[in-house]
C-alpha cells in the first residue's frame, strides 16, 4: 500500500535538554484513518509539528506523499490540512476573513475561494457566527473553525491534533462523524490520548510512549494483542447466592473468581485453561443457582486494556529498549507480525 506519511529515525531534542521524539519511524498508509495514540507528553504534537515543518528535526527525516518535510516546504504543507489542539487563531479577524486569508495562502482564485469558504462555514455550523470576531468564540466554535480552516485547501491529508479536546458531547459526536465521513476520501491522522475516539473512527493506530513508537498496525491487530483471560459476569440476585457461586467457581481448577461491586463476578482464567470449556462450566453453575445472568464482558475496554498493556510492556523492557544503530521499527511491535 502506498504511504501517505513516512518518518525515518525522526528525533527531536529541545535545546539539548528534552527528548520529545525519540528515533521515531512511522508509516501511515494512504486512505487510512490513523490514530496517533499516547499519554500526555508522549511526543504526538511534536511529531505533527515536525511533519508540518514548524519544528526542525534534530535527526532523521519525514516525508509526506514522498516529499521531504521542512521549514520552507510549501508543497508539503499544501498536501496537509492541520487542526491544532485548541487552535490559536487570529482573534481580531472574523471567520470569513480568516478563511479567505487561508484560501489566498493556498493560492486559490477568488471564484473558488469564496464559494468554498461559504459552504465550509455552513458545513461546520458557523454561518450564524460570521459577524463575530474569532476571539469571542467558544472552544467548540474555535475547533469547528479550525476544522473548516484545515479543509479550505481541499488537501488529501488531514492531521488533526486532539480534535475533541474540550468539546461537549454533541460537538464531539459531530467531529467524530466528520472524521468518519472525510476518511472515505482522505488520509486522516488523529493525534489523541482519548481512547474511545480511536476506537470509534480509526482503521490504523500507532501508540507512542516517551517519544517512541511502541506499536503500529491496524485496529484489529491491536485488539488481537489483548490477553482475553479476564471475563466479567453481570448477575442479578442476592449477595449470598453470589458469594456461594464465587466459592463454587474457585473450587474449579485454573479459575479465580472475585465478587465485584454491583452484582458482578470477575473471572481470571489461567493460561493453560481452555476458555470455552471453563466458561461453559461456570455458566452451568450460574444456571443452577438462583442468580440471573444479564451480561458477559470480555474486558472493560479492549483498546484501553491493550494500550495500557503496551505501555506496561514498554516500561518493563527497561534497558532492553536501547538499541545501537538498528532500525527503530524493530523495537516497535507491528500489527503485521501478528497476522
Amino acid at each position: 500500500m502506498p504511504l501517505a506519511i513516512r518518518t525515518e529515525r525522526l528525533t527531536k531534542i529541545y535545546a539539548s535538554r528534552l527528548v520529545a521524539v525519540n528515533d521515531l519511524s512511522l508509516e501511515v498508509p494512504q486512505g487510512a484513518i490513523f490514530g496517533l495514540l499516547g499519554p500526555n507528553g508522549a511526543g504526538k504534537t511534536t511529531t505533527v509539528r515536525l511533519l508540518l515543518g514548524l519544528h526542525r528535526p534534530s535527526a532523521g527525516y519525514a516525508e509526506v506523499m514522498g516529499r521531504r518535510c521542512g521549514v520552507n516546504r510549501v508543497s508539503v504543507r499544501k498536501l496537509i490540512g492541520y487542526l491544532p489542539t485548541n487552535p490559536k487563531l487570529p482573534g481580531h479577524l472574523r471567520p470569513i476573513e480568516y478563511l479567505d486569508l487561508l484560501g489566498q495562502l493556498y493560492g486559490l482564485p477568488k471564484h473558488v475561494r469564496k464559494p468554498r469558504l461559504a459552504s465550509l462555514l455552513r458545513a461546520v455550523g458557523l454561518l450564524g457566527a460570521t459577524n463575530q470576531p474569532i476571539h469571542t468564540f467558544s472552544t467548540g466554535m474555535n475547533t469547528r473553525l479550525g476544522i473548516a480552516a484545515s479543509l479550505i485547501g481541499d488537501p488529501p491529508i488531514l492531521i488533526w491534533d486532539e480534535p475533541t479536546a474540550g468539546l461537549d458531547p454533541a460537538a464531539r459526536r459531530f467531529t467524530l462523524d466528520l472524521i468518519r465521513e472525510l476518511g472515505r476520501t482522505r488520509t486522516i491522522v488523529v493525534a489523541t490520548h482519548i481512547l474511545s475516539d480511536i476506537d470509534q473512527v480509526c482503521s490504523h493506530v500507532g501508540v507512542m510512549h516517551e517519544g517512541r513508537m511502541i506499536f503500529s498496525g491496524s485496529m484489529r491487530d491491536m485488539q488481537q494483542r489483548l490477553k482475553r483471560n479476564v471475563f466479567r459476569l453481570d448477575l442479578v440476585g442476592s449477595g449470598e447466592d453470589l458469594e456461594r457461586l464465587a466459592e463454587q467457581v474457585n473450587a474449579m481448577a485454573g479459575i479465580e473468581a472475585t465478587v465485584g461491586t454491583g452484582d458482578t463476578l470477575s473471572l481470571q482464567l489461567a493460561d493453560r485453561v481452555n476458555r470455552a470449556n471453563a466458561l461453559s462450566e461456570v455458566l452451568m453453575l450460574v444456571a443452577t443457582s438462583n442468580l440471573t445472568l444479564q451480561n458477559v464482558h470480555s474486558g472493560r475496554n479492549e483498546t484501553e486494556d491493550v494500550y495500557l498493556q503496551l505501555l506496561q510492556e514498554d516500561e518493563a523492557h527497561g534497558f532492553q529498549r536501547f538499541t545501537f544503530e538498528t532500525d527503530s521499527r524493530d523495537d516497535a511491535v507491528h500489527g503485521d507480525s501478528l497476522a
Binding site: L54, G91, H92
Partner: protein
C-alpha cells in the same frame, strides 16, 4: 506572490485596527500641533521642522516604533502565527518579509500623514519668525533620513523579536541599544549617525539646495578617532575630560554638521537595516515556532 500580499494586507488591517496605532496617530497629531503653536513665533522654519521630526528618532515615538516592531515573532503572536498561518502553505521568508513590510509601511504612513501637512503649514504660512531658506529638496531629504531611521528601528526590532521570544525583553534590549547609542558612536567619531546628532543636522539638510548635495567628504581623521576613544575610556575610568568646555549654543544651531553627508547616512542606516532583516530571516528559519 499571493501569500505575501495576503499576509501583508492582513497585517496592515490588524495594525490599523489596533488601539496602540490609533492612539499613536492621535498623539502624534496633537504633539505636532502643540509644537507648532508653542514655537510659531520663536523658531525659524528649519529648526521648527527639526523639532517636529525629533520625537520620531529620539523620543517618544521611537519607543512606539520599537513596540510595534518586535511583536510579530515573539510572545503570544508567535503561537497565533504558528497555528494560524505558518502551518499553511507559506514560506517563513514570505511571512517575515510581509510582516516587516506591513510594519514599515504603517510606521512610515503614520509619520508622513502627520508630518507632511504640518511641514507644509510651517513652510508655507507667513509667520512672525525670521525668514529661512528651507528648500524642497531639503525637506524631502530630511523626511527620507527620518524614514530610513524608522525603517532601521523596525528592522532591529524584528531581529530582536526573533532572537528573544519574550516581547518585553526584546523591547528592553532595544531601548538599551538605541538610547545610549550616541555615546558609543561618539567614541568612533561616527556621531553623525546617532539619533540626536541626526536631529541636530536636520536644519543644515533642510536648507541644502539640490545642486550642493555632493559635498566632498572629509578624510577620516584617525588621530581624532584615537583621541576620542582614549577620552571615552578615561572617562569610564573616572578621569575628568581635560578639554575646555565649548561655548553654549542652541540645540539645532551647533554648526557641527556643515559636512553632513546624506550618502553616508543612507549607507550607515541602510546597510544595518538590510543586515538586520537578513539576520532576522535567518534566525526565524532556524528556530522552531
Amino acid at each position: 506572490m499571493m501569500p505575501f500580499t495576503a499576509i501583508l494586507w492582513h497585517d496592515l488591517r490588524m495594525l490599523w485596527s489596533s488601539w496602540l496605532v490609533r492612539l499613536w496617530l492621535i498623539a502624534t497629531a496633537l504633539l505636532a500641533m502643540i509644537q507648532i503653536m508653542s514655537n510659531w513665533e520663536r523658531f525659524q522654519t528649519a529648526p521648527l521642522i527639526a523639532v517636529l521630526l525629533l520625537p520620531y528618532i529620539v523620543f517618544p515615538w521611537s519607543l512606539v516604533v520599537m513596540m510595534l516592531s518586535v511583536n510579530p515573532l515573539s510572545g503570544s503572536r508567535s503561537g497565533v502565527a504558528a497555528d494560524g498561518i505558518l502551518s499553511r502553505p507559506v514560506t517563513r521568508y514570505a511571512y517575515l518579509l510581509a510582516a516587516w513590510t506591513a510594519r514599515v509601511t504603517l510606521v512610515l504612513s503614520v509619520f508622513l500623514v502627520v508630518t507632511v501637512p504640518t511641514i507644509a503649514i510651517v513652510a508655507l504660512a507667513e509667520r512672525p519668525a525670521p525668514a529661512d531658506e528651507v528648500t524642497f529638496y531639503g525637506v524631502a531629504a530630511s523626511l527620507a533620513v527620518v524614514g530610513l531611521v524608522l525603517t532601521f528601528l523596525v528592522s532591529v526590532g524584528f531581529l530582536l523579536g526573533t532572537l528573544f521570544r519574550n516581547t518585553l525583553l526584546a523591547i528592553v534590549v532595544l531601548v538599551f541599544l538605541w538610547f545610549p547609542v550616541n555615546l558609543v558612536l561618539n567614541v568612533f567619531s561616527l556621531e553623525e549617525f546617532s539619533p540626536i546628532s541626526l536631529t541636530q543636522a536636520l536644519p543644515t539638510l533642510l536648507r541644502q539646495p539640490w545642486d550642493e548635495t555632493e559635498v566632498a567628504e572629509p578624510e577620516p581623521d584617525v588621530d581624532a578617532a584615537f583621541r576620542d576613544a582614549l577620552s571615552f575610556f578615561s572617562s569610564l575610568g573616572g578621569n575628568s575630560n581635560p578639554e575646555p568646555k565649548p561655548e553654549e549654543r542652541s540645540f539645532f544651531e551647533r554648526g557641527d554638521y556643515e559636512d553632513f553627508s546624506l550618502r553616508r547616512v543612507l549607507l550607515g542606516y541602510g546597510i544595518p537595516t538590510i543586515v538586520s532583516v537578513a539576520l532576522a530571516t535567518l534566525c526565524f528559519c532556524l528556530r522552531d515556532v
